[in-house]
C-alpha cells in the first residue's frame, strides 16, 4: 500500500462516518488485546500486564491468539529428547525415543514430536527446578513477622500470594502427571506393553571448536544422563533442587551409560563469561 495512495485518495475511503467510528473502537480494542498477549506471555509485569493477560485469556484461548512470539529467544538452547522402554508380557523389551530423525517423517510430523519433548521438558522444569518449598517458607516467615508488627494487611497479601503459589505448584504437578502419564499410556497401548519407563535427556549444542576437532553433532558426549520421568520420580527434598544433570533423588540411568573413555565436550558453546560480558556491556 503506497503512502501516496493512502493519504491522498480521500474519495477511496469507504463506509459512513458512524460505521468508521464503530470500527475504530473495535480495532483499537482488538489491537490492545493483541499487544497485551506478548506483553503478558511468557513474562509480564505482576501488577499490570499479567492480570490483564489473565482477564483476556478466554479470548486468547477461543481464537488461539495471545502468544509470546519469542522465537529462538533469548538464545537458541539445547534440545530435549524423551526415550522409552516398554516391556511386554512375554518379556520382550521395546526401546525408542522422540524426536527421532531416522524414524519420524515427514519433517512436520517430526517437529510435532520435537515440540512434545520440549513441552515435557518445560513441565519438568516448572515442577522440579523451582524451589517452591523454600520460597514458601520464606514468605510464611515474612508474613508472621509482619503480623507481629501489626501490619496485617501486608501479611494477608503475602498469604494470598502463598496460596496462589501453592495452587500454581499443584497445577504444575498435575500437568506433569497428566502429560507424561498420557504419553506413557499411549506408548503402552501402541506397543502392547505391560510396563513402561520414560527418560528425559538434554543435548548440548556443539561449539565451533568441537566441530573443528571432528566431533559430530550427535556425539553422545553432548547428552546428559537420562532422567527418569515415568513412573513419576519423587519431588526433591528442600534444598535439593536438581538440574537435569543431577536429577531428582531415587532415579537411575538404565538406558544410557557414560561411554567408555568419556571425555567431556571440548568447550561450552556459550560459556558463562560470554554471557556476563554481553550483559555487562549493554550500556
Amino acid at each position: 500500500m503506497s503512502e501516496e495512495t493512502t493519504m491522498n485518495d480521500c474519495e477511496e475511503i469507504g463506509w459512513s462516518s458512524s460505521a468508521r467510528t464503530a470500527a475504530t473502537i473495535a480495532l483499537v480494542a482488538f489491537l490492545f488485546v493483541l499487544v497485551m498477549g506478548p506483553l503478558s506471555n511468557p513474562v509480564g509485569s505482576r501488577d499490570l500486564t499479567l492480570p490483564l493477560g489473565r482477564t483476556m485469556s478466554p479470548f486468547y484461548q477461543a481464537t488461539f491468539l495471545g502468544h509470546g512470539y519469542r522465537f529462538f529467544a533469548p538464545d537458541p538452547g539445547p534440545s530435549h529428547i524423551v526415550t522409552y522402554v516398554v516391556k511386554r508380557e512375554d518379556g520382550t523389551v521395546i526401546q525408542g525415543s522422540f524426536p527421532n530423525r531416522e524414524s519420524i517423517s515427514p519433517r512436520l510430523l517430526y517437529h510435532r514430536w520435537f515440540m512434545l519433548s520440549e513441552t515435557i521438558y518445560n513441565e519438568y522444569v516448572s515442577l522440579y527446578a523451582l524451589p517452591f518449598e523454600e520460597v514458601d517458607r520464606d514468605l510464611e516467615a515474612s508474613a508472621e513477622a509482619l503480623k507481629l508488627a501489626g501490619r496485617f494487611s501486608i501479611a494477608d497479601s503475602i498469604n494470598e500470594e502463598r496460596a496462589r503459589n501453592r495452587r500454581q505448584f499443584d497445577d504444575s504437578r498435575k500437568r506433569f502427571d497428566e502429560l507424561v502419564g498420557g504419553v506413557a499410556s499411549w506408548l503402552l497401548k501402541e506397543n502392547e506393553g505391560v510396563e513402561v519407563e520414560l527418560f528425559l535427556l538434554e543435548r548440548a549444542i556443539a561449539s565451533p571448536l568441537d566441530v573443528l576437532t571432528g566431533i559430530e553433532l550427535d556425539d553422545p558426549r553432548f547428552l546428559t544422563d537420562p532422567e527418569r520421568i515415568w513412573p513419576i520420580p519423587p519431588l526433591p527434598a528442600m534444598g535439593q533442587i536438581p538440574s537435569l544433570e543431577e536429577g531428582p533423588p531415587g532415579t537411575d540411568s538404565p538406558l544410557f551409560e557414560e561411554p567408555e573413555g568419556f571425555v567431556p565436550p571440548l568447550s561450552d558453546p556459550f560459556p558463562p563469561e560470554a554471557a556476563a560480558d554481553g550483559e555487562g556491556g549493554g550500556s
Binding site: 480495532l27 485469556s57 477461543a62 491468539l65 533469548p74 515427514p106 510435532r112 515440540m115 556443539a206
Partner: protein
C-alpha cells in the same frame, strides 16, 4: 504570523497545518489559536487513520495469499493424519485433563474435534476438514469455507496443545484475517464460476472494498507485533550480542537438516548473519512502512526465513512467514506480476 492570519489560512485549508504551526500557536499563547491547532492536528490524525484502515482495496493480494496460506493449511492438516491417534484422539498422548489444566480450567479453548470420540468418527471428520481446507485454498464458496477453515485451524491447535510451534500460530492469525477480507475475490473458483455463468444483475466479486483493506492492515500490524517481540526477546540473550546465536541454531542436531557446520571455519559469517538477523527483526516494525526501505526488508525476510527453513528443517514455518510478508505487496503489483506470469485471473 499573527493568529488572525493563521486562522484565515486554516479556513482555506484546515488540513494544511503543520507541526511547526501547532508549536508556533502554542508559543504565541493564543488559546483560540491553540485550540484551532489542536483541532487541525486531530483532523490530521483522523484522516491518516481513516486512510490507513478504511480505504478501499482490491482483493488480488489477499487472493494470492489465500492460495498460498490455504496450501499450507492443507499440507499441515494432511500431515496431522499421521499423528491423528497420537496427538488428536481422546486416547492419545495429550489427555483432556492436561489441556484443562494448561488452559487454567477454562472451557474457552474449544475444539470441534472434542465432539468426536471414536477413531472412525475422528478420521471421517478429519478428512472432511481437509476437504474444506482444499475448497478454501481453491476459492470455492470462499466466504463460508474461510470461516470453517478458521474454525478447523483453531480446533486442531486447541486439541494438540503441547505439540505446536510458530507455524500453527501464524496459520491461525492469517486464516482469521483472510476470513475477514474478500480473499475469494481474485484467483478463485468463485470468481471463475461467476464469470463463466455470466449471471446478470450480480455484482462482480473482484471489487475494491474496505474489509479487504482492514484484513490486509491487520495482517501487517500483527506481523509487526510478531517481529517486535521476537526481536526484543532476543536482546535478552547473550548469543545474539556476541554473534553466535545463528551457530546455536545451525549446530542443533535436532533441528539440523542441512549440514552448515562448515561455517565453524568462518565464524565471522555466522556473526554477520546473526547481527543482520536481529537488526532486521528489530527494525522491521518501523521501516517496513516506508516505501524506500520496504523492498529491502521484504527481501531480507525472504532470505532469512527460507534460509532458516532450509537449514533447520522448518520450511513450513519459513514459507508461512514469507506468505505473511506478502501482505505488504500492493494489490496492483500482485495483479501485474501474476498477469506477467500469465496466471489466469
Amino acid at each position: 504570523m499573527s493568529s488572525k492570519k493563521r486562522r484565515k489560512r486554516s479556513s482555506v485549508n484546515p488540513d494544511s497545518q503543520s507541526v511547526e504551526d501547532y508549536v508556533a500557536g502554542q508559543l504565541n499563547g493564543s488559546d483560540a489559536g491553540f485550540i484551532a491547532q489542536m483541532g487541525n492536528w486531530m483532523r490530521h490524525i483522523r484522516n491518516a487513520w481513516n486512510g490507513f484502515w478504511f480505504r478501499k482495496s482490491m482483493p488480488h493480494t489477499l487472493g494470492l495469499m489465500r492460495i498460498l496460506v490455504g496450501s499450507m493449511l492443507v499440507y499441515t492438516h494432511v500431515v496431522w493424519t499421521l499423528g491423528l491417534s497420537a496427538f488428536l484422539s481422546p486416547g492419545g498422548m495429550i489427555p483432556d485433563s492436561y489441556r484443562y489444566l494448561v488452559f487454567d480450567r477454562s472451557s474457552s479453548a474449544w475444539s470441534l474435534l472434542d465432539w468426536f470420540s471414536t477413531p472412525g468418527a475422528l478420521m471421517t471428520v478429519h478428512w472432511v476438514c481437509v476437504a474444506v481446507l482444499v475448497m478454501f485454498m481453491l476459492g470455492l464458496f470462499t466466504r463460508v469455507t474461510a470461516v470453517f477453515s478458521w474454525l478447523i485451524v483453531v480446533s486442531y491447535a486447541n486439541r494438540a496443545t503441547g505439540a505446536l510451534f510458530g507455524l500453527d500460530q501464524i496459520n491461525a492469525f492469517l486464516v482469521m484475517y483472510l476470513m475477514i477480507g474478500n480473499c475469494g475475490g481474485a484467483y478463485s473458483l468463485d470468481n471463475w464460476l461467476r464469470k463463466r455463468k455470466g449471471r446478470a444483475g450480480e455484482s462482480p466479486l473482484m471489487t475494491s472494498d474496505v474489509l479487504t483493506n482492514v484484513a490486509t492492515r491487520l495482517i501487517q500490524v500483527h506481523l509487526c507485533i510478531v517481529y517486535l517481540f521476537a526481536g526484543t526477546g532476543k536482546l535478552q540473550g547473550s548469543t545474539w550480542w556476541n554473534g553466535e546465536a545463528i551457530w546455536g541454531a545451525l549446530a542443533s542436531y535436532e533441528y539440523q537438516t542441512m549440514d552448515m557446520t562448515w561455517l565453524a571455519d568462518y565464524m565471522w559469517i555466522v556473526n554477520l548473519i546473526t547481527l543482520v538477523s536481529i537488526t532486521w527483526e528489530l527494525f522491521y516494525p518501523f521501516l517496513i512502512w516506508h516505501r524506500l526501505t520496504r523492498p529491502v526488508f521484504i527481501a531480507l525476510a525472504v532470505m532469512i526465513h527460507l534460509g532458516i527453513g532450509a537449514s533447520m528443517g522448518m520450511m513450513t514455518f519459513g514459507l508461512i512467514m514469507v506468505y505473511a510478508n506478502m501482505a505488504f505487496i500492493e494489490p496492483a503489483t500482485t495483479k501485474r506480476c501474476l498477469s506477467y506470469l500469465r496466471i489466469a485471473q
